[in-house]
């Protein structure tokens, strides 16, 4: 009897331990996770933690040093390139390992391996896009070039040196929570991360909806609503800039059947939402600044996440002393400055992603120029946690991978097989561009560097200590015939294939223009004088505002630049609200607010909320009945709608097709105002009318855990203002650099240097970012200074 009791108790104890050591549903293993010694609380860094240490790292060639300033920004000083990138890898991994792991998993379509079935659709999309294929191509190019090979290999070794020191207790919190462990880093992961950025920046196209709309609308109306270039654009490369004579002739439009036409039955009504991303940058010549030195500003708008996309660093070694932001997961500094030059990026948005309709002949072949061609096949094995591996065979054509077909439907359940030709698939070496850019000392060096940057195409702003400013619409583009790739092309004829590449030195650029400033904010790249054809997705509202303000600045200070980056003036509101109010005769509190409004989307403004809600109803009421069923939800741009409201009060689209009566502009405005009033009354009963509460800008943890995220941030602006703080996208790094003798640089990003939610450095910059405040960036003359008061901790690294 006693033996029985003892055995029962032992079984019970073992079962208890077993249960608490294994995940339960969505819960992590309770015992292992809650254990305060080795579990989640190891992430609770002491606020007084002393980061100074001496580390013995066998992979280093020489002794080196990392000095952390009071914001935990590392200033790395090494004696050669190998050690520099080795340490960068080690430092990135020390502070951002889980993020690096997840983002490269996301790029590769390997999220299901760690979170299970719910990510399978996402993973399949990544594989079908050819992300792995693209990364392999670029990796080959990067490994072929000796300088980038050293970068990659040293960086990889540095990350792995850190990973090899880890035990369960040292793992970042998210590993313990989700229940997996870091795997060794490999150079392909760096390539995947760079392709992840290329996808983020060039992945959006309108080819499918435009193909649909072109057949649906009379030509004149199509051109009226969806112009290739909007009237009144203030292009990235200022109008009137002389372009280099083209070395290639624009090819004629092929005479055979080049386009694809959809039937209504190709789609069903399911709609998806798009969320465009953008960025601002500008540079002022010394003639326009108070100091007489150029000022360069950049704020790329990307997803607002924690851990932040960016990690600030200074890298110093013989031949390089550079400061700015890096991407955890890749070596080098992406946006920043060195002793001589500064630079920044905005997305270029020229279309480099085209679709081809494939005509399958059999399971293994498709039609090309009247003959059958064999597909090649790429077997994608997608590991799924707790489930058998999913195998997806992706067919590759001369155009590229078949992204959609009956086995994997496209937007609005499109089943037509479409292959993708995409510049991001090419084996390009953007890392070489960063390597040279980080070391460039003048304009010539700058151009030699960026000429290696092929995809994603970027508007690259430049300023130097010698007083030059420049802007390049940089990237690798194709010499296209008119409208090539704007719509889905017939994939069964070789006449639609991409032709010659445009020599990159012929990319549009401006150097020291007479106007004394240059700016880009994702608007159209050039005026129509540019000799090559291109199309793209361009946005004008922020560019109009930036150019309006810059044109009026003659003795600009860095404070003026701060103000412009945080500017919330809405060009859209200023040009639509007067028209809207013209048709409203009532004088209630809302219209009173609007009539006294300064068109600024400030955080606490009520008028901003009233306008934004009214505008979104009006925009929807005008277009939804006509374009509600368009795949991917493509409607005319807000800026185009704004122009039409001002120039054409009799447009047939103002009529709501779903009613028997004919509505005019006044009717649709009055109707949308009524809807607005109803919404506002509801809001007043709940969260109130303050703009920041209604738009709810949130910086979300990458695993979408609200407990690790920060919502309802008290920040103004929206996508149509320079301070483009939307719900989940916004200025991801605000930088202002004045190119005086001692460079004066300022920056802030919505996050913090540590990726650990338990660290005081996790979101330490967030408050200043919200309030539009900046940090003066510490730039050590020789990469290290013995007695700098701002240095708080030092890592002494020994081989």
């Amino acid at each position: 009897m006693r033996a029985f009791g003892a055995i029962i108790s032992l079984i019970f104890l073992a079962a208890l331990i077993f249960v608490l050591d294994h995940p339960l549903g969505i819960l992590p293993p309770i015992g292992r996770f809650l254990d305060p010694v080795n579990g989640c609380l190891t992430a609770a860094d002491s606020v007084n933690k002393d980061f100074s240490t001496t580390l013995k790292i066998p992979g280093l060639q020489n002794a080196a040093q990392v000095q952390y300033d009071e914001r935990m920004v590392p200033h790395v000083s090494a004696t050669n390139d190998h050690d520099l990138y080795y340490i960068q890898g080690y430092v990135h991994a020390s502070f951002r390992l889980w993020q690096m792991d997840m983002q490269t998993r996301a790029a590769a379509g390997r999220v299901s391996e760690v979170v299970g079935n719910k990510a399978l659709k996402f993973d399949r999309t990544q594989r079908r896009k050819g992300m792995g294929y693209a990364a392999e191509n670029s990796l080959a190019a990067m490994e072929e070039e000796p300088r980038t090979r050293i970068m990659l290999d040293a960086y990889t070794a540095g990350v792995n040196a850190y990973i090899s020191t880890l035990h369960y207790r040292d793992l970042p919190l998210e590993y313990k929570l989700i229940g997996f462990s870091p795997e060794p880093w490999t150079p392909i992961k760096c390539a995947l991360l760079l392709k992840y950025m290329a996808d983020d920046l060039t992945g959006y196209t309108e080819d499918i909806p435009l193909t649909y709309l072109r057949d649906m609308l009379p030509e004149a109306e199509f051109n009226l609503l969806f112009p290739e270039r909007i009237q009144g654009t203030t292009p990235v490369i200022p109008s009137g800039t002389a372009f280099d004579p083209p070395s290639l002739v624009t090819p004629p439009v092929p005479s055979d059947s080049i386009w694809v036409h959809f039937k209504k039955s190709d789609f069903d009504d399911k709609r998806t939402e798009n969320d465009g991303i953008g960025s601002n940058s500008w540079a002022l010549s010394g003639s326009r600044t108070r100091s007489g030195a150029p000022i360069l500003c950049n704020d790329p708008h990307l997803g607002l996440n924690l851990p932040s996309l960016w990690y600030e660093m200074q890298l110093h070694a013989p031949g390089i002393n550079v400061c700015g932001v890096s991407l955890p997961g890749a070596p080098g500094i992406v946006i920043g400055f060195n002793d001589s030059i500064s630079w920044g990026f905005t997305n270029n948005y020229r279309d480099v992603k085209d679709f081809y309709a494939i005509h399958p002949l059999s399971e293994d072949t498709y039609l090309m120029d009247g003959k059958p061609l064999r597909y090649s096949e790429r077997i994608e094995r997608i590991g799924v946690k707790g489930k058998p591996t999913v195998i997806d065979k992706v067919k590759y054509t001369v155009h590229g991978p078949v992204i959609y077909d009956a086995h994997f439907e496209g937007p609005s359940r499109l089943k037509m097989p479409l292959a993708l030709t995409w510049m991001a698939h090419k084996g390009t070496n953007e890392l070489l561009a960063l390597y040279l850019l980080n070391r460039a000392v003048n304009y010539v060096g700058y151009v030699d560097a960026i000429i290696n940057f092929q995809c994603p195409g970027q508007n690259m702003i430049y300023a130097d200590k010698q007083g030059n400013i420049s802007l390049w619409g940089q990237g690798q583009f194709v010499n296209k015939w008119k409208e090539q790739g704007r719509y889905i092309m017939n994939g069964a004829t070789s006449s639609t294939l991409w032709g010659q590449l445009i020599p990159m030195r012929e990319n549009p650029h401006a150097l020291n223009p007479e106007q004394g400033y240059l700016s880009s904010a994702n608007q159209c790249v050039t005026d129509s004088a540019f000799p090559y054809y291109y199309n793209g997705t361009f946005y004008e509202l922020r560019a109009w505002r930036i150019n309006q303000v810059l044109a009026g600045l003659h003795a600009a200070s860095v404070e003026d630049m701060f103000a412009l980056q945080n500017d919330t003036y809405s060009i859209l509101a200023a040009n639509t609200l007067p028209v809207m109010l013209r048709y409203i005769t009532t004088n209630d509190n809302y219209t009173l607010e609007l009539r006294n409004w300064n068109y600024r989307l400030d955080a606490e403004s009520h008028a901003a909320t009233i306008y934004q809600i009214w505008w979104s109803y009006l925009y929807s009421d005008i277009w939804h009945d006509d374009f509600g069923k368009v795949p991917e939800n493509l409607w005319p741009l807000p800026e185009r709608t704004m122009q039409l409201l001002n120039t054409d009060t009799t447009l047939r689209f103002y009529d709501d097709k779903n009613t028997a009566t004919t509505e005019h502009l006044g009717d649709v405005i009055q109707h949308s105002y009524q809807q607005t009033v109803d919404s506002l009354k509801k809001l007043e009963r709940t969260i109130g009318l303050q703009w920041y509460k209604v738009k709810n800008t949130t910086v979300s943890h990458l695993a979408k855990l609200p407990a690790f995220s920060y919502g309802e941030l008290k920040i103004g602006g929206w996508g149509n203002t320079v301070n483009a703080a939307k719900s989940d996208h916004g200025p991801s790094w605000r930088m202002v650099v004045q190119m005086t003798k001692d460079i004066e640089a300022y920056g802030v990003y919505p996050g913090g240097q540590s990726g650990n939610p338990g660290s005081k450095y996790y979101a330490s910059f967030l408050k200043n970012w919200v309030e539009g405040k900046y940090y003066r960036l510490l730039f050590l003359a020789n990469g290290n200074e013995e007695n700098n008061k701002q240095i708080k901790y030092t890592w002494s690294l020994q081989p």
Binding site: L13, G31, N38, S46, P706, G758
Partner: protein, 114 residues
């Protein structure tokens, strides 16, 4: 007095064990100590419970204090608990439960061997 010594021994032994072994080594320590001390099962449970409960409670409080309550409230929110003190209490209770069951089992095995 002897009871307090057994509690102290379990706590101390767990502290050392957790430096080298997984979290459930605390159960092994509680089991072994109660095997040696030969208490009735109820008392052995109480001793094991108290030892790990206190060890984990104090460890969690110490870390949370040094962290100035940055992480614990986030963890509480993650598990939908109203405040971080409750989160720390849950930690201690889980530890206590494991220690208690291990102590109880140690006592029963001792009885079987006698």
């Amino acid at each position: 007095m002897r009871f307090f010594i057994s509690i102290f021994l379990i706590a101390l032994g767990s502290m050392v064990a957790e430096l080298y072994f997984a979290w459930w080594s605390v159960a092994v320590v509680a089991f072994l100590v109660m095997l040696l001390f030969n208490y009735p099962p109820g008392r052995a449970f109480l001793g094991g419970f108290a030892a790990i409960f206190l060890f984990w409670l104090l460890t969690a409080f110490r870390k949370d204090a040094a962290n100035e309550h940055i992480l614990a409230p986030k963890m509480a929110a993650l598990f939908h608990l109203p405040n971080y003190a409750l989160f720390i209490l849950v930690i201690a209770l889980v530890g206590g439960l494991v220690g208690g069951v291990a102590g109880w089992s140690g006592s029963l095995v001792r009885r079987m061997l006698q």
